[in-house]
């Protein structure tokens, strides 16, 4: 059972009410052929997949009892630069969000998607999401997911992508909130020369417990994957990181790299890492690396000798660690939201 490491043994879903707020925000002008609608029954066949995500219970619940989500279909060779934004601002009247999302990028198309989940600190909210992406030949899907729900919230999020020849799915995951957070990203590199990057940051503070699992399954030859994760843990937080690189037979000349780096700020944190490298094919290159440690004392000393106090110095070092990932987000306003949230959790708390 996936959850035993963070002590979540049993889970009962509350009754799901309608999610009444508008969450699809589109600023640019998209070509008519691009169809973005609320998710409906008609697309059920695309969810008929073998995927447990954070747990079978959660994914099957999302398939049936969703109250939000989109279906987005990009026609052939359609490239849209302006991002499709989904903003889920949960509040007292909308404390439960079960979003089910479908993205189909036809041959040669390209799309940028931002999914932002947030709520006020005091409200108890529950988020359970399922996102399914199909990237056809030569298609590119860039997707940024930000989870910054309040500390009274619980968040479960399952994501899966199927990538065809020369297609790309690039994930950026930012995990900053909720007292329990489960996040699962699985990418099937089905086609030849398909590729996927997963860049993520996580910040654990207070009593937050996180279970993060990232999986890259190489099936097509010459497929390339890259997982890069930077984390920070403080207070009594606990995280479990599971990174899986799976090379199936036939994925010759593929390459997969996985890296996790975590900074530990307090003696009371708990950090588990389970990187797995599974290999059925000889002619591949796979690498994983994990490291953990405190903030470099020399760096801290230097900053403090320049007149910064310890908290601020630590914040600077943490930000410097996160920055390479955050810099991959091409939207200034989002970067600011993320840095503000980090600052709030490191300094103001």
């Amino acid at each position: 059972m996936l959850w035993k490491r963070i002590g979540l043994k049993d889970f009962e879903f509350p009754k799901v009410h309608d999610y009444k707020k508008d969450y699809i925000k589109i600023e640019g002008k998209f070509p008519k052929e691009v169809k973005i609608n609320r998710i409906s029954e008609s697309e059920n066949k695309y969810f008929d997949i073998e995927f447990s995500g954070v747990g079978d219970k959660f994914t099957s619940f999302a398939k049936k009892y969703y109250n939000a989500g989109i279906q987005l279909r990009l026609p052939r060779n359609t490239k849209i630069v302006e991002p499709v934004k989904l903003e889920f601002h949960m509040d007292e009247n909308n404390p439960t969000l079960v979003d089910k999302n479908l993205i189909i990028a036809e041959e040669g198309s390209e799309v940028n998607i931002i999914m932002d989940y947030y709520s006020n600190e005091k409200i108890e909210t529950l988020h359970n999401g399922l996102t399914v992406i199909y990237a056809k030949e030569n298609a590119t899907v860039n997707i940024i997911k930000i989870q910054r729900l309040g500390d009274s919230s619980q968040s479960f999020d399952s994501n899966i992508a199927y990538v065809e020849g020369n297609g790309k799915v690039n994930w950026i995951s930012v995990e900053l909130g909720s007292y329990i957070s489960g996040s699962n990203y699985r990418t099937y590199l089905d086609g030849e020369a398909s590729g996927s990057n997963l860049s993520s940051i996580y910040l654990g503070d207070g009593i937050r417990k996180m279970d993060l699992e990232y999986t890259m399954i190489h099936k097509g030859p010459r497929s390339i994957s890259n997982i890069e994760t930077k984390g920070v843990l403080k207070d009594n937080s606990k995280k479990v990181f599971r990174g899986n690189l799976d090379f199936k037979r036939g994925s010759r000349h593929s390459k997969g790299v996985e890296e996790e780096y975590v900074i530990l700020l307090d003696p009371t944190v708990k950090s588990d890492s389970i990187p797995a490298l599974l290999c059925d094919e000889d002619d591949v290159e796979g690498e994983h690396a994990a490291s953990a440690g405190q903030i470099d004392e020399n760096k801290l000393f230097y900053l403090m000798s320049r007149g910064l106090d310890e908290r601020e110095s630590k914040k600077l070092v943490v930000e410097a660690s996160f920055r390479p990932i955050i810099d991959r987000i091409p939207y200034k306003y989002l970067q600011e939201i993320i840095f503000d949230e980090i600052e709030r959790r490191l300094i103001d708390a």
């Binding site: 530990l264 700020l265 950090s271 059925d280 690498e287 994983h288 953990a292």
Partner: protein, 468 residues
């Protein structure tokens, strides 16, 4: 263009597969019952507490499930395994007294020769009992005890009682319980305070009988400031029926002591090797594991180091070579239970012809173990794509004042490396051989010379085309 590949040949098992007739003085029936346990205990003339210990272990065994993770154990049928076979001889202190067929087996394995040339003492177990034990006089004079477990239980009962299965209790897992119930043979080593043994001791375990189990118990106590190198060798000839090896190795390394424990395991491919090895290390002590897994049908073997004293250190160097029909699930566990402890893990694995090599490791740092350092490195090389190679290192950190690094790699040996060597005037063949030998070198260099040569001979390289 079809790419040619370089293959590494199977290990030449010639000398290991020599079978002797199955003769014995006494054996139990197949399977496992209270009566059989009582019989073993009676046959061995054991103290009552040991008999009770066996019976309690049997009860635990019956109540524990077979592990569902790791390798497939469904081919293992305990009810058809003979748990105890006394060979047709008593324990001897001279090779001349050992029965001819048994002596020839060990001669072929090179044990008496190694004893003359490079060892301070030798123990040889044949099926369930130790048939030969000898140690150099000067070591006896220094107070070192090296004997079989049965003798130790009679002559040093208090010591055995204090340490026996304290590190690996029978309720640890199903096969530890089985071991507790039917253990037989193995070596006992005691190195007194401050005594440094410069030449290694070796115990060799040979299972000749078909459809049998070997359950030897090795107990080593290295007192304060003492030093020892212990070598364990294992082999068995190939039979059609499955054999089982469920030994236990318990190592106690006291303050400032050093123990190096080397294993070359070359069981036949009908063997289920479910061995448990564990060391506990006190203040500033050191445990060094050298582990080579080549044989067996299925192995589940994860030597564990518990660093309980401040400044204790562990080092693990392992190589696993899985060929056709083999599933070798190996690795190591390290528990940092005290401040300023350090550990290093260096594991290499090769798989070929449908073999399955699995590295499974655990690194745990306890809440109070601040100032720890650990590096874990795993490398695997697959020689064809019908084989499998997986790596699963679990890291659990429970405080912040630590420095942990882990890396793992899988892949082929790069053409660039071969090209580079060739550009330096080395022939292609030689370059490839150098690279493969270089891959296994971290373990060969840790072995005494004779064993290193042996290991190099075990791995014959057939050179053609690219590697990997």
């Amino acid at each position: 263009m079809e790419r040619k590949k370089t293959y590494i040949e199977d290990i030449d098992r010639g000398i290991y597969d020599i079978k002797n007739d199955f003769t014995y003085r006494y054996k139990t029936d197949k399977g496992l019952t209270e009566d059989i346990i009582m019989e073993i205990s009676r046959e061995k003339n054991e103290p009552e507490w040991m008999r009770d210990f066996r019976l309690k272990s049997l009860e635990i065994y019956n109540n524990k499930p077979i592990p569902t993770w790791g390798a497939d154990l469904s081919g293992l049928d305990i009810d058809n395994i003979i748990t105890y076979i006394r060979p047709d001889t008593d324990m001897k202190h001279s090779w001349d007294d050992v029965p001819e067929d048994i002596k020839i087996t060990f001669e072929l394995l090179g044990i008496p020769q190694a004893e003359r040339e490079s060892l301070a003492g030798v123990g040889a177990q044949y099926d369930s009992e130790v048939v030969y034990h000898n140690i150099k006089q000067e070591l006896i004079d220094q107070g070192i005890i090296y004997t079989d477990m049965e003798t130790a239980l009679k002559e040093y009962e208090d010591v055995v009682k204090e340490y026996f299965m304290k590190l690996i209790p029978p309720n640890d897992h199903k096969f530890a319980a089985l071991h507790g119930a039917v253990w037989s043979g193995g070596s006992f080593v005691y190195v007194p305070e401050g005594v440094q043994v410069d030449i290694p001791l070796q115990s060799y375990f040979r299972l000749n009988a078909p459809g049998a189990g070997q359950f030897e118990h090795t107990l080593i106590i290295v007192e304060k400031g003492a030093k020892l190198h212990f070598i364990e060798g294992c082999s068995a000839p190939m039979y059609r029926v499955n054999n089982l090896h469920a030994g236990c190795v318990e190592l106690f390394v006291k303050e400032n002591a050093t123990l190096r424990y080397s294993t070359i395991e070359n069981w036949s491919k009908n063997m289920y090797n479910l061995n448990t090895k564990r060391a506990v290390v006190d203040k500033n002590g050191t445990i060094e594991w050298i582990s080579g897994s080549f044989g067996s049908k299925v192995s589940m073997l994860y030597p564990m180091s518990i660093l309980r004293g401040e400044g204790a250190r562990s080092e693990f160097t392992g190589i696993t070579f899985a060929a056709e029909g083999q599933h070798l699930d190996t690795g190591t566990k390290v528990v940092h239970a005290a401040p300023h402890t350090t550990s290093t893990v260096n594991s290499k694995s090769l798989s070929k012809d449908g073999g399955y090599a699995f590295y499974r490791g655990l690194l745990r740092v306890a809440e109070n173990a601040y100032g720890c350092k650990s590096t874990v490195s795993c490398e695997s090389l697959m020689l064809d794509n019908i084989s499998k190679s997986d790596t699963l290192p679990i890291i659990e950190l429970n405080n912040d004042n630590i420095d942990i690094g882990h890396e793992a790699k899988i892949g082929r040996i790069s053409d660039e490396a071969i090209f580079y060597l060739m550009s330096r005037g080395i022939s292609e063949e030689e370059a490839k051989a150098m690279i493969v030998r270089g891959f296994v070198e971290p373990i060969t260099k840790e072995l005494p010379l004779e064993y290193a040569v042996e290991l190099n001979n075990l791995i014959n390289i057939e050179l053609e085309g690219t590697i990997g």
